[in-house]
């Protein structure tokens, strides 16, 4: 079985003089393709990864999951009545606040992603509607 030699496959090899130079219009087209691919494919994926990272970092820094998992653990493991009561009280006060911060940060970034997606289209629409008005 003949295996294609990816290392030194002779197809497509050209001398310097035979290689064509891209024209400026080709470069312009390439730029548009590159821009659209970056803005609408690669960056939304990157934003989603960033959103996931933000949710992890905010959750971790606010100790949200940790406190929920240890909700009934007394304050500083003081297994007296005071420890249990105080522990519950602090968590009941703290967890909603942390949750609000957590959800707000996710919501804000989701809005940022939506703005990101709409920005070029919105700008072009704005330009055209301004011209046509």
């Amino acid at each position: 079985m003949e295996v294609k030699n990816t290392v030194s496959d002779s197809s497509g090899q050209q001398l310097l003089t035979e290689t064509k130079t891209d024209s400026y219009s080709a470069i312009f087209l390439y730029f548009i393709q590159d821009f659209l691919r970056w803005w609408y494919v690669r960056m939304p994926i990157w934003h989603l990864r960033k959103l996931a990272r933000i949710s992890v970092v905010v959750n971790d820094n606010l100790s949200l999951s940790l406190l929920v998992q240890n909700f009934f653990l007394p304050w500083h493991r003081d297994y007296s009545m005071m420890g249990y009561v105080f522990g519950l009280l602090i968590k009941i006060l703290y967890i909603p606040i942390a949750l609000i911060i957590y959800l707000t940060s996710i919501l804000v970034y989701t809005i940022i992603i939506l703005i990101w997606l709409l920005l070029p289209i919105g700008t072009l629409t704005f330009i055209f509607t301004s011209i046509l008005r």
Partner: protein, 907 residues
């Protein structure tokens, strides 16, 4: 021991010849393939990199056009953004009612044109955003190369390359913008101007200048051209097809230095190693390509370190740490806090990297601490191997979250034993204090107790109950409610833990070995910034390499990395007090030379003359023993030029022969000529070590003392304090055979383990043994007929072989039988002795003179066959010194006067 920079076996360069369809590996060869039918590629463990001529030609033809388009786009976008900025500003002012007076401006702001301009401006911001962030959001990164296993290399050699198992990557796609631009700019008329590029990089590239600066050398084009004849004929221009080879070698450099992209510095490094003349140039400067790579690797590690703190970057791994409320779910440790410190918190506040070179031990420790039962660990290792650093490395991993779930949020608390004892004096009962602290630890749920130098707990006792602290802690150690980490060295482990079954069983032992030289270098690299800041100096890489190599070789009493760290710190301190800003390898040698009282600096002109004339100078003082003088001077020259085996003594000699011919005196003269001071030689009379108990005395047990109760200074102490000297073992045949067995270790490995368990280093000593074996035979031959001397020598050697074991005899570099002195030689000895007397008298202001006949007269009168030069000494003492003393007493000889030695004094 030369440093291994650990860069081998990460890459394989291969080639393919299409005409013969032959694949091969390029081992230590760097050909430039110019023929289109020959290809070159690079293999790592997981990827292979290829490059083709069309890719290169496409870059050269188009890159500059794309770049020009990009520049124009950027300029136009920047210009088109400006109207939007003004419109935005004006709109803000309008909404703030600050433009009410300027109706024309408010009218313009409401016009269609302004809206269009604003829209275009926003669009250009988007374009600039794309331009700026495209590379930042999706950085091109070369993959990290791991070591290729030897069996894989063997498989490739046997059965060929299997490209299907590797990920294919294009070399060109990893080239940075600067690299691409350089490729375009230095290609003219289908020729790549290699030498011009090389010169340009050396003069203009900032990264290369930083690397060269850190290497401590100066590289200049003029010097290369004039002195080393490096020019276009050495580094020629190549056709475009040859760029495939150059870029492949360059990307190999990029991979070895863990760079993100193929940068111009990698092309520079590739060119340096491609040509023997350029390699020779840097070797002449005292550095190697490995050092330049290591510097590049260090620079890249600084960049990577800066990036590690970007938590929100999805390209960088993130580990959960627990957050602001993580301590709420764990118990307090108020009492413990008075005599402990939180290592996890300490480590979080500084950016050093800990535990380098102990990855395996850290993994072991983490797995032990994460167990459900028996989670105590005992780290056993010599002082200075990095046990504490290992623990801090675990603390660092806990901080970054890079640990199993059982160890998340844990903190390592180091118990301060002295602080505990001090605190107990205030609080009262130490036993109660410990119990309360342990209960706190148990309750906290997140603490790991760390006890450094755990053996100190055993002798320490509680005053009230007289229980040892270890006994009080034992139940907690056995119950394993919380993990405990202890550290101890080998001898204390054997002494305190091995015999105690319950203690031994409750710990998992983890042996901590000495860090390798490669890892020690990495540890020193992490300390560069701190040292430079504290000592206001600049540390070159050769200085770091020298610290590691010389510490490993000369500082045997401490292990790596501690010895190397202390060496570089001592060098920085010494340099600071001598106003030296740039620290080089020479300064490290100097610092060690001062510290260890040995000379390991480079040979300067003065010393070179001294070494050349060494034999001549020694012969002036030792008459007639040329064989011995030549043997010793050769070993000294080998030692000083560092050619000898560094793991053995400089030389090991056995001198036999009649008495008074210079055996002991030669050792003294060598000590004076080479080591600087005659009285510094260590002389051991082996007749003092005849019985079996003297082995302890030889090994330096501390129980030996004199009648006044003072501890005797032993051989071990003397060699430790003066390791660069002559050690003279007189009359070795009288020593107990057990002591002669110790010599086997000294002669072969240059070390002796003392009674206290310390290793004493003999590798910088010359060992001279003297023996009277066969002296009867030799004396008899001299008395009968000097012509029988040759036969007598042979018989003496036979007797030697019968008296000493073959394995001991085999370890001597040379066994030399000293010849008897003939009358002319005795005359020369007499001349020498008179010269010594003259020098002594000059100190008193008296000048002694003698005629040429006097020395021969003395030799004739004092000669006793078989007795050597000692009779001459006694004769001069009696006849000449006695006479001079008489003259002085009678007042005939005062300071400033002269005296002639008369013949009648002698006859």
């Amino acid at each position: 021991m030369a440093l291994d920079f650990d860069m081998q076996e990460k890459t394989i360069c291969g080639y393919h010849k299409r005409n013969t369809n032959k694949f091969g590996i390029l081992e230590n060869k760097f050909p430039i393939f110019q023929d289109e039918n020959d290809s070159i590629f690079l293999l790592t463990r997981d990827h292979f990199f290829s490059i083709s001529t069309p890719q290169i030609t496409s870059v050269i033809k188009n890159y500059l056009r794309y770049k020009k388009f990009g520049d124009i786009k950027r300029i136009v976008a920047n210009i088109l953004v400006l109207p939007g900025v003004f419109i935005a500003l004006a709109s803000i002012l309008k909404y703030a009612d600050l433009l009410d007076q300027f109706e024309s401006i408010t009218e313009i702001l409401e016009s269609k044109l302004v809206n269009v301009l604003f829209g275009i401006s926003i669009f250009n911001v988007i374009i600039l955003w794309h331009d700026f962030y495209e590379e930042k959001s999706h950085p091109i990164q070369l993959p990290k190369a791991k070591k290729i296993q030897q069996k894989e290399i063997d498989e490739i050699k046997a059965t060929g390359f299997k490209f299907g198992r590797y990920g294919h990557l294009d070399t060109v796609s990893f080239a940075s913008e600067q690299t691409l631009e350089l490729l375009c700019n230095f290609t003219k008329d289908n020729q790549f101007q290699t030498y011009d590029l090389f010169k340009y990089l050396l003069k203009e590239d900032y990264d290369i200048q930083q690397i060269v600066r850190r290497s401590g050398i100066e590289m200049s084009v003029n010097e290369m051209e004039e002195k080393f004849k490096i020019g276009e004929d050495v580094i020629p221009d190549y056709p475009i097809t040859a760029l495939r080879s150059i870029l492949t070698y360059a990307i190999e450099e990029a991979i070895l230095t863990e760079s993100r992209q193929l940068e111009p510095q990698h092309i520079f490094l590739a060119i340096l190693r491609l040509y023997p003349q350029t390699l020779k140039y840097i070797q002449a400067k005292g550095i190697s390509i490995d050092i330049l790579r290591e510097i590049s690797l260090y620079n890249n590690s600084l960049i990577a370190k800066a990036q590690r703190t970007k938590h929100l970057d999805p390209n960088i791994p993130y580990f959960n740490k627990g957050g602001i409320a993580r301590r709420w779910i764990y118990g307090y440790t108020f009492i413990l806090g008075h005599f402990s410190k939180d290592l996890t918190e300490e480590v979080a506040n500084n950016r050093d990297i800990y535990g380098i070179g102990h990855d395996e031990e850290i993994e072991n420790l983490v797995s032990v601490l994460g167990k459900l039962s028996n989670k105590n660990a005992l780290l056993i290792g010599e002082a200075g191997v990095g046990k504490s650093s290992l623990i801090l490395g675990v603390a660092q991993r806990i901080n970054t979250g890079n640990v199993p779930i059982q160890l998340k949020d844990k903190r390592i608390v180091q118990l301060d034993i002295n602080g505990l004892i001090a605190h107990s004096l205030k609080m009262g009962n130490i036993e109660e204090l410990i119990m309360k602290a342990m209960q706190e630890l148990e309750n906290s749920g997140n603490a790991i107790l760390y006890i450094d130098e755990m053996q100190e707990l055993i002798p320490a006792k509680a005053e009230e109950s007289n229980h040892s602290l270890a006994g009080i802690l034992l139940p907690y150690i056995l119950n394993s409610k919380f993990p405990i980490i202890g550290t101890v060295n080998y001898s204390d482990y054997k002494k305190y833990f091995y015999s105690n079954e319950s203690l031994r069983q409750s710990f998992t032992n983890i042996e901590v070995k000495e860090v390798s030289t490669t890892d020690t270098l990495k540890i020193l690299e992490t300390k560069i910034a701190t040292l430079e800041k504290n000592f206001n100096c600049y540390i070159t890489f050769p200085a770091l390499v020298a610290s590691v190599e010389l510490a490993y070789r000369y500082i045997k009493e401490r292990k790596l990395p501690s010895s190397a760290v202390q060496t570089i710190e001592a060098t920085c301190s010494w340099a600071q007090s001598n106003n030296i800003q740039k620290i080089t390898a020479e300064h490290v040698s100097k610092a060690i030379s001062i510290q260890k009282n040995i000379n390991i600096t480079d040979i300067d002109q003065e010393e070179s003359n001294k070494l050349r004339k060494l034999e001549e100078n020694i012969r002036k003082k030792i008459i007639g023993q040329d064989e011995a003088v030549i043997a010793i001077t050769e070993s000294l020259r080998r030692a000083r030029t560092d050619i000898r085996n560094p793991e053995k003594p400089i030389g090991v000699f056995l001198f036999m022969g009649p008495t008074g011919v210079g055996k002991t005196y030669l050792a003294k003269v060598v000590g004076e000529e080479f080591f600087g001071n005659k009285s510094d030689i260590i002389r051991v009379d082996m007749s003092e070590y005849q019985d079996i108990d003297s082995v302890d005395k030889f090994l330096g047990t501390t129980e030996t003392g004199n009648v006044f109760g003072q501890t005797n200074i032993t051989l071990v102490d003397r060699v430790k304090s003066n390791p660069y000297t002559v050690v003279l073992f007189d009359e070795i045949e009288k020593a107990n055979p057990k002591i002669l067995n110790l010599f086997l270790q000294i002669f072969d490995e240059g070390r002796l383990t003392s009674a206290a368990g310390e290793t004493v280093d003999f590798t910088n000593t010359i060992i001279v043994c003297t023996s009277n074996i066969g002296s009867g035979i030799l004396l008899q031959a001299l008395e009968q007929d000097e012509a029988l001397w040759g036969e007598a020598k042979d018989r003496a050697m036979i007797e030697l072989r019968q008296s000493l074991s073959p394995e001991l005899l085999n370890r001597f570099d040379r066994v030399i039988v000293f010849s008897p002195l003939d009358i002319n030689q005795l005359r020369n000895v007499a001349e020498l002795l008179l010269t010594e007397l003259k020098e002594r008298m000059i100190d008193k202001g008296i000048n002694i003179k003698w005629t040429d006949q006097i020395p021969m007269l003395i030799a004739n009168k004092a000669n006793e066959p078989g007795m050597g030069a000692r009779p001459l000494k006694r004769y001069i003492q009696d006849k000449i010194e006695g006479q001079i003393a008489k003259e002085i007493i009678e007042g005939n000889l005062k300071s400033g006067s002269e005296i002639d030695i008369k013949e009648n004094w002698i006859i």
